[in-house]
Structures are given as structure tokens and as C-alpha cells.
Symmetry: C2
Subunit: 414 residues, 2 copies
Amino acid sequence: MRLSKLFTKTSKTAPADEVSKNAQLLIRAGFIHKEMAGVYSYTPLGLKVLNKITQIVREEMDAIGCQELIMSGLQKKETWDATGRWDDNNVDIWFKSELKDGTKVGFGWSHEEPIIEMVKQYLSSYKDLPVNVYQFQTKFRNETRAKSGIIRGREFVMKDMYSCNASAEANQAFYDATIEAYNRIYDRLGIGEDTYVTFASGGAFTKFSHEFQTVCDAGEDYIYIHRGKNIAVNEEVMDDENLEKLGIKREELEKVKSAEVGNIFNFGTQKSEDTDFTFTDADNKKQFVHLSSYGIGTTRVMGVIAEKFSDEKGLVWPEAVAPAKVYLISIGGEAAIKCADDLYNELGAKGIDVLYDDRDVRPGQKFADFDLIGIPYRVTVSDRMLESENYELVARADGQQLLLTREQLLAKLV
Amino acid sequence: MRLSKLFTKTSKTAPADEVSKNAQLLIRAGFIHKEMAGVYSYTPLGLKVLNKITQIVREEMDAIGCQELIMSGLQKKETWDATGRWDDNNVDIWFKSELKDGTKVGFGWSHEEPIIEMVKQYLSSYKDLPVNVYQFQTKFRNETRAKSGIIRGREFVMKDMYSCNASAEANQAFYDATIEAYNRIYDRLGIGEDTYVTFASGGAFTKFSHEFQTVCDAGEDYIYIHRGKNIAVNEEVMDDENLEKLGIKREELEKVKSAEVGNIFNFGTQKSEDTDFTFTDADNKKQFVHLSSYGIGTTRVMGVIAEKFSDEKGLVWPEAVAPAKVYLISIGGEAAIKCADDLYNELGAKGIDVLYDDRDVRPGQKFADFDLIGIPYRVTVSDRMLESENYELVARADGQQLLLTREQLLAKLV
């Protein structure tokens, strides 16, 4: 993509009311636009990052046998009455409105109840199980405060997945497979090393539920990490009884600030009993479905990555989610421009995403924007370097600088 | 995809309150699920169709130099006050709600005002123009009646595109380029032949605006088509003065029922004046931006295709949007199953989408479901046919039936 065609611009400042680092950086670099507190639009650069995160999550969900669908945002009261979650006293983050005839409608803050309602209509026999479905859906949550940028918004995108199984064993096996899939996702997103499977309090059927927490100063949680076992516990379950169950000692733990990047919950048959979600088993007996749900906030993950991979100059995207791999700059006259044009076309033809800073601005601004936007590699072509047939390659993450021939450059990037 | 893994099932009946043919068929065949009147979820099969439509639209938008982004669904009152369109007396289809502190918010039924608001913040000079941006966004519209299935929903997806230009000429040139892009889209979607650029009444700046209307019994409009010139006029502009301007005679026109599958509007500088949307020209003078907007309801298009391409047995998807190209059936014993498994893998490896009916049900049900789901080709493998090393290929559209060797079959499909 040519920067001259991009309608967004970088900025030295963020809106005065924007206190979170992730949103400040993402706004200044032109990835998101603030609509109101906790509500952001995603510009072409931001959408590219979000799409890359989405695709990684999608591939790992498909790999464990899940099917993608998309539910509606509009929800009806009846669907939520069975579990008592329509009531504002039980769920205080609904946005509600009404049809012209006065019928109340809500805007989906979750989709557990409607997914059950839908799957119910297709499910009768144990032969129909398992069912594993997921979506990338915009959620609306009427948060009282929304000061964490895209880490906690009033509108955000979540991958929510639901698994329906015939037995506790099958449910648990899929739950465990999903933990592995989630670990692969965070690895691929570049936050695997700092992301911990974290034991949290469970429901009626399980001692623990699990969160995936990423060590992050901007996080809203504190967790206690066990580096040796690569697990953590959250504050709710930080007591001697639980620690003993998990086989860890208090003194082995380290308290850190963290952001939740995923959570999974084994409902057992609790929700199915609430909603009369059943199937007939091989003996033609009615049984409750074993249900689990699995969430990853994709926009939130983008915010956490922005927080963690950034420095005083700007963003530092991991390559897997960067909006482009290369930021191409030409300095000087026609020869340098021609050479950069040519390299832009060649890299594009080889499938390398390039953000080509072809703007008529001074080199200093191009260098500063490279740093702020946070593309992994900068390639600079200048009249002077062309004389010695060299290209400069700079890595955004560590600043490493190389002078390479064209052949060496291509070998490095392609 | 194996049908045994798909959680949806076909059904002989649709919900009693579902009166539209498109929704009846799509529900019965397992493409959509009705949440409430005018609100549908898209199951894995339905999402596949929608994604194919989306991708065709995206490619044609990108080809004329547009950039994709995604705006927020939540909207603030101030953004819409400038044009008077927050007021329920002017726009009577808002879904509105409020934040905890009482601040009113709306759910986007359109994004013209917020797009202007956003682009404004990046746009200063004529050098920044043109800006052409688009999104695939869920729109919420509080329709009084919602009886047309996914052709007119309370929640639907629209590709909305907005172009900002420095002059009336540049605006018009891009408007004309978009008409061509839209024609390519409808051609690729399989409805090109029946889709007419239709003259509708214009605004302050143009005599006419344009709709794209597809001849369709389920449509809500009547248009007058001119087969020779491949254009149409809608009822608003059906008078002698307009016909003369367009150089067509009343007796050359044919009145047909139609569904609007796209509309485009040249606002000139009208909206920019309302919203103070300006840039500075080469002489450093303030000028109003020339604006146009361009919509295609992608879920609506899916509904129109379902209406048009269907018969008494079910859906008949055009290949470009079908959820798969081949519906594979095995009849008989282990040899047939092994052969079908093998063909499924081979076609998949060659990039052909196959819906493999591997269910343990009688052949009659498989044939009926093939007809209802509407995949372009059915391939049948049976013990009997294997004896003569033959495969049966049936085209859903015209029922043409061929007995082919494996080599011939692959040549036909790949």
C-alpha cells in the first residue's frame, strides 16, 4: 500500500480525554479512530491488524473441528429470561431498545443463550453431537467506565466459541484441546511467552475455570505466576487450599499485573438444565448437553499487543499481526524513487506486504512515522546508497541496521 | 465439508410466521436461523455464501482504489445533529439506547455522518484527496414491518462506500467508475443480466440518482425497464419530462417488479455544507468536499439470489456464491464409501469445495437435500457405477445428467 493513498495521518497527539497507552498510540499512528469513550472505528491500517489476528484465531478454531457462523446482534428478551440474564439486576451492561410495537430488544453483550436456543432446534440425538461453533461478533457492553482504550470497550469484537458434548468426558477432552489451541494462538500472536493459563474460580461443576492472562502493565488484573510450571492463579483462588490442590507453594509465585486475553468455562450441564437443552442418548433417554464456552476478545488482544510491543517512539508490531512487513522509504532524486517503485512492485509480486512511504515529505518525518506505525522492517533506498548498490535494512524491534545488496535484501525479506 | 459434521439440518417446514420465500428456503435448507422478525443468524452454510458475496464486492471496490475500514455500530447524537438526522421525526428507524450516565446513543442505521466526521479529522488539503473508503457493516433499522426475509431486515449487512473529491468533475468520474464496478459485481454474482441501472430522483445537485434494481417477484419496487438500452426508470421519475431527458419513449418500457440491490448517490457539496466538511485548494482557499455514497446490501443480495435462483425443490445457487461446488453422495457399500472418501480428498486437494453427504441416511434423503441446499453439481458414486468405473454428474440448474469416467469427471470439475 502506498502511504500517499492512505487517508489517515499520523499525529503527535491523541485526544485529550484518551488516557490509555494503547489507544493513544493506535490513534496517533492512525490505526483506530475514537467515536466516543470505549468506542473506536478501525481504519485501513487497524483493520489489517485485526484481520490478521482474526485469521490466526480462525485457523486454530477450524483445526480443532469448529464451525464458523454469525449470530445476530439484536436479541429478544425471552431467550434470556430462562437464565435470568435479561434482568438488569443480574446483568447490568445491557444496551436495550424497543421495536415500534413496544417489544423490548437487547444488543448482544454475549451469545450463550441465543446459541443454545439455536442449536437446540437442530439437535435431537446423541448422534448429532458434538457441536462446536464459533463466531467473530461485535459485542455491546454498557460499561460504566471505559478508560482502557480497546482493551475494554463498550463495543468490541470477540471470538466466542461454544462446545456441546454428550458426556462430561467428551466435554473435558474438548476443553483440554481448546487450551492447547489457545496456547498456539497466543504463540502465533507473539504474546505466548507472557501469557499464562490462569486458574480462576469455577462454577457449579468445576473447581476451577481458566483465564488466559498476559503480563501487561495496562492490565486490570493481578495474577500470581509460577514460572516453573508456566501457570498462574488469580486473586479469587489465591488461598492455601487451592494452592495445595494445584501443587504449588505460595513462595514460588510472583505477583504481576495482567490483562485477560481469553477465558474458557466448563458449564457442565448447569446451563443446559436452566434452558432445557437436551438430547436423547443411545437408550433413547433424555440427557442434558454438556456445554463449555470459550472467548477471545480480538480487539482486546490487539490492544494488549499494542501496549506490550511499543516504546517511546511508537508501536512495534510482531510480524504475524503487523499491517505490513516492510516500510519502504526513498530518499533523494528520481533514481531512488524509480528504484523504490521497482522494489515495491517486486516485493508485492513475491507476496510481501509493503507500506511504501511515497509521500513528498522530508526523510525525518518518514523515519518518525516508521517508528510510530511500528512496521517490523524499514528498507531505505537513497541516491547515495544506490551508488554503492546498497539498501539499508533496519529492524524496528532492536534497531539493528544492515547494508545489503539487493540480492541479500530479498533473501532476508522473502 | 462433511455433512455429518454440520450441526444444521434441512427441514420440510419453515417457521409459521415466515412468509417470504427467500427466508423459508434459506431456513429449510439450513443457511439462516430466525431470531425474530427481520433478524437472522447465518449458519456455517449461510456464512459461506455471504463471505463469497462479500469477497466479490471487496475485490471490485479495491480494484477502483477504495480502502476498507470498519466503523463503530454505536453512534453519538452530536454527529447526527448537524444534518438533523438524529431526530426521530426525520429518521424514524433509529434504535436508540443510553449510557449509564444518561448520554443518548444510537445504533448505526447508516454511517454517512460518522464517516464524514472521521475523514474530516485527517483531511486538510486538496493533496489529501480523493478519499474512497468502504466497509461491510451491520446496520440496525427499526422497520415497522419486516416480512421480506433477509431482503429487508431489522439487522443486515451493507457494504457502504463513500467518496470524497476536490471537484464536481472528479466526483462524477468516480461515480461513473463505481457504476461500472457495480455492474461487474452483479455480473459476477450471477444477477447481471436481470439487474438494471435505474434512474431515480436526485437531490439538490443532480437531476437523478441511481439504483440498481434486479427483476424479482419478491421485490418491493416496480421499475420500467428498457431492454434495448439496458436501463430502467423507477416510479418517481416516470414522467414525460424525465423520459425525454433520458431519450426514451414510454412505449418502449416494460413494467416489472424488482428488488433494489444497490444505490448510489451524488451529494455534490450538499452534505459537506451541512457538516462543514472542507479542504483548502491550491490557492489556499476553503472549499467544500464533493461527496458521493454507494451502498450494496450484501445480505439483501443473498436474499434476492435465493428468490431468483430457486425452484419447487429448493435453492439453485450460482457457482460464484454457492457454499460448495460439488455435493458428493455415495450409495451402497464399503467400496462406494471408500471411493467417495478418496474423491472428496482429491477434489479438496485440488481446491474444489465439496459438501460431502457422508450421513448414514437413505439415498432419497441425500438427493432431496442436494436439491434443497442447491449446490451446483451432484456427484454420485455407487457400487453399481463403480463396476463400470463410472461416476454420475448431475447439474442442479438444468438437471443435466452425465456418466463420466473419473478422468472426465475431474476435467469437468477442476
